[in-house]
Symmetry: C2
Subunit: 113 residues, 2 copies
């Protein structure tokens, strides 16, 4: 069955209070995923195909899934597009200061694109 | 050749200024490794066999290696024992506030031993 006619499963998101620190740290431990997070920090929402990352579509899908299932981002579908947003409020409530501290560390890491 | 008579290679440690954020986040994304970090936060040095973690020795060796190669801990050998210490100063200089913020997040994560 071609992908386009298959019904997509609902996108799974952890509840804010269930966001797990190890999942978040793992999600942030990859440069492509961190690039996505860094971009989403500056805008409310973005279509998944529009991130300036140089990886295969299947790899990018995996990265978005890791970010979503860890609770770092939320995703919603509209027509044929999927939009991502950073769960800034949920993350700040669950782990105060973590996201900002990690992004400040990223700026010192010397290799962020 | 039995392990005991084999000369051990020198322990590799990254320079403080070369500590990589992604390596650090990956190192901290595991509960056993985080337990080691949390314990080392409270004492200057500890022999590797004395951590209260319930994993096989080979698994524990792997965890120490990941922590050391990421720059999170330093290790030294003395006679037949290997001692570990947190690289608190190096980490704080490289990524200010990161370690404390992650450990504060750990306290909120609800599953730290």
């Amino acid at each position: 069955m071609p992908r386009s006619t298959r019904r997509r499963p609902a996108l799974a998101h952890p509840e804010a209070e269930s966001i797990d620190l190890y999942d978040v740290l793992h999600a942030l431990s990859d440069p492509t995923r961190m690039t996505i997070v860094r971009i989403l920090r500056t805008e409310p929402e973005r279509a998944c195909g529009t991130f300036p990352v140089d990886v295969a579509p299947s790899t990018l899908s995996h990265h978005f899934k890791v970010l979503r299932e860890s609770g770092v981002i939320s995703q919603r579908e509209e027509a044929n597009r999927r939009f991502s947003a950073l769960r800034t409020v949920d993350l700040e409530q669950r782990f105060p200061g973590l996201l900002d501290t990690v992004l400040a560390a990223l700026a010192r890491n010397g290799d962020d694109a």
